[in-house]
């Protein structure tokens, strides 16, 4: 286990100050050109040195015909070239003194026996020069804290707390927007490809040491260094949660993984055992992977499994209650004092049983602080799940009826809703040891919920997803307690 992040072979790959870029040109419709343009678009502040046999300037950057002509030694080489010339290029990099690389090019082990032989050759070259590299057949890294995104897809998201190590490149790039929509961002995302030199275990170790990473997510098709994985994971989970999606357990997933990265998979049961032993939470789908990451990255350790549900509608309340009980959460019993404090705030047809159904509430503002504050103050309750309808759908009409001019309704609404959201967010400071989670059937991008997400309050699109995520948090701390 590394003692400091700078000991990781990944450190210069994730945090390079200068990059030699092979495979970009002024012809845009090439993978390399697209990747370079992403890097420029996000505003990477380090130095980029394109290498191109003919072009002297590539996308506005001074280019060199060969790496051997470059006056300095770049921290990192990114290689996006045709398979045939990758080995020669890496050899040149080695001769130049470069010790870290990302090999994006495919056509190696995943492509059959000929490709496997070529990969062996690549590995030998790297060993000879002491080069550590990601890939081949990968999409490299994204380090949003450094504005580094040499992947084909624009990073339309902020830097955040989710670390990802993935045996699929697309789960790096295609998740930028997904994470943003769901209230998260990557700290660092690492695509390992065929793992010829650096594998997912190295990535796990790096993310364990990465200070920006609050929760580690793994996409796994098969782990080769099993015992090292267990050792590293065991060292991490007592201080940082790990969530893993493993797809190699089914025959179909195994076949798909084999033609994808040529990795070795094993039966679901074996991986279940490994994960349990290490304190890793297993996700069955990508949705679960990031749902759990959101909860684990934002919520405090719950004191127990007793939950109170707050709703304005019976159906969502009952559905949430059903979902909670299916994952082992227990509906808390409200104390008589709590019920007494609630009564003046809600209509007499409302329910003060749990789920607390406020129905048509007397004062909109109470929903977002006073009522949940009473519920969270009850010592019989460990966590809160609140249902959110968009207050906008009512407010828009109310403001219109009140005679507010049409062109100022939106700004008035935004202000009101922003205030409501901030009130709700302040509950997390008032009750720092109780997880607070929301669910809604509206779009997550509407003002109220978007504000909550931006302020670190998880809101899910189904009570089931919220309940499972809370259960994942419970499970993480339970396993951690036993380690």
């Amino acid at each position: 286990m590394i003692r400091s992040i700078s000991e990781s072979p990944l450190y210069p790959i994730v945090n390079p100050k200068s990059i030699a870029f092979f495979g970009a040109s002024n012809t845009f419709m090439r993978m390399g050109s697209i990747m370079l343009s992403s890097m420029q678009a996000l505003g990477y502040e380090g130095k980029i040195i394109p290498i191109h046999p003919k072009e002297k300037v590539v996308r506005g950057l001074a280019a060199y015909p060969s790496i051997l002509d470059v006056p300095e030694i770049p921290d990192l080489a990114i290689i996006v070239l045709p398979t045939e010339i990758v080995c020669q290029t890496l050899d040149d990099c080695g001769k130049k003194g470069i010790r870290h690389a990302i090999v994006v090019s495919g056509g190696f082990r995943e492509a059959g026996p000929e490709g496997a032989a070529l990969q062996k050759e690549l590995e030998a070259i790297a060993r000879r020069h002491g080069i550590r590299f990601l890939g081949p057949n990968c999409l490299g890294v994204a380090n949003l804290h450094l504005k580094l995104n040499p992947t084909p897809i624009k990073a339309d998201c902020k830097a955040g707390f989710v670390g990802l190590a993935s045996q699929s490149g697309s789960f790096i790039t295609q998740m930028f927007n997904y994470l943003h929509r769901h209230g998260m961002g990557f700290s660092a995302a690492l695509s390992v490809g065929n793992e010829a030199s650096i594998d997912i275990v190295d990535c796990l170790e790096y993310l364990g040491a990465c200070p920006h990473t609050k929760v580690i997510t793994l996409y796994i098709e098969g782990i080769n260094r099993g015992s090292k994985f267990v050792e590293i994971a065991k060292a991490i989970t007592p201080r940082k949660p790990i969530v893993a999606l493993y797809v190699g357990g089914s025959e179909a997933g195994k076949q798909a993984g084999l033609s994808h990265t040529g990795s070795l998979s094993g039966p679901n049961e074996i991986y279940d055992g490994i994960f349990k032993q290490c304190g890793i939470i297993r996700a069955k789908t990508l949705t679960e992977l990031f749902d759990y990451a959101l909860a684990l990255g934002t919520l405090p350790r719950p004191g127990g499994n007793r939950i109170v549900i707050q709703t304005h509608s019976g159906g969502p309340g009952a559905t949430a209650a059903d979902a909670c009980s299916r994952v082992g959460l227990k509906l808390s019993r409200l104390s008589p004092e709590t019920v007494k404090k609630l009564k003046p705030l809600i209509p007499k047809t409302a329910s003060t049983a749990n789920p607390v159904d406020m129905t048509f509430s007397k004062n909109h503002a109470d929903d977002y602080f006073n009522i949940p504050n009473i519920l969270l103050s009850d010592s019989e309750t460990d966590m809160l799940l609140a249902y959110f309808v968009s207050p906008g759908i009512f407010l828009e009409r109310i403001l219109g009826e009140m005679g507010v001019e049409e062109n100022s309704i939106n700004s008035e609404m935004d202000k009101l809703i922003g205030d409501f959201a901030q009130k709700f967010v302040s509950l997390t400071q008032a009750h720092p040891d109780k997880p607070i989670v929301g669910f809604t059937y509206r779009s997550l991008q509407e003002k109220m919920v978007r504000t909550l997400l931006d302020c670190g309050v998880p809101v899910y699109q189904d009570p089931e997803r919220a309940a499972r995520s809370l259960a994942a948090v419970q499970e993480y701390y339970e396993r951690r307690g036993k380690m």
Copy 2:
């Protein structure tokens, strides 16, 4: 079982030509006023007659102090009044000759013994006058084909093919926007409340006969007329699918339902048995309820369970393969002819195993017709699951690089993406007997996927949801085959 929809007691409630409305006034912040304003906003074309003790004009409509003063006999009374005066009002309606009502007001059986007694009185009044009514404690109906929405929430959706009968009012109103975002709309949505006169079984029967309804969804906290439910459901499922979400099976769900509508629930196993017997597909969450409805309402009967997965990325492909195999779908084996036809269209590093991973495709347009058309033409394949990245994220950059002016990039992109989407939609005509489904991790509202949804091609936000929905379609036709 009714022979024609007009025999249903619900017919005049869902399709009224004139409505007496009790409880709306010129004070907007009242439930009744908000409900009337929704009805006006959607543009209901029938006649609305507000009844108000003092106001002569309510929201621009001529009002009467008592129903007895109204010159005509309205088809329907909607009552949104304080609990205390509901019985008297229904009695007046009966005297006037009105035979159908929606009682929105709460405070009856769900509110304890006193409320239960009041409900008995209400029932007796209705019986005496021969009145059939929805409620009390409900949100009534929405019939978007008639622009009828007397619920508190604006109907921001189109009329569609999903019929809903719900023991929760919020699942009517709060799903307008949800259904629209996911590519659906209600044909008719019915909130039954305490089911004093008309119950969920009557609603099921109505929806079975409703020509706009292609798939029936049920939200159930407890069924009282069990054997009638079975009889009606059995008569419907051989020609129209029914999906049911039952939440009363867990202790928490049961308690929540009890304080919500006071309904009787039973163990999960009993409901599982009933549903199976009737050919009803059970959903565990609201997300599943409408995911299945989308698939059942749009897809043809599959010839078998052999699926082909098309992707541009290994990870989403492997995840989809894993999800399919978990729900019992079988990855089809591509014939040598199919592989031969594919080869010229995809790069040599691409995979022609199943999942078919096109990687970085040679010609964008092939992804949306030529490649899936080859896959669907294989006689060893019964259905297609395709992964969609937003082509916009590439196209925007490509068009920019090509020198297209910034202010015309969006319209150019929209046109291109619209064409791609239409090509993909045309596969459903080319292969009318093979289900075609998509999944994406992007927002459903981006042009490509939104167009597919608008044209009746289901696209889900996770391969798991797509796979489960396909399995639900399989299961429906299997059960139907055995009935």
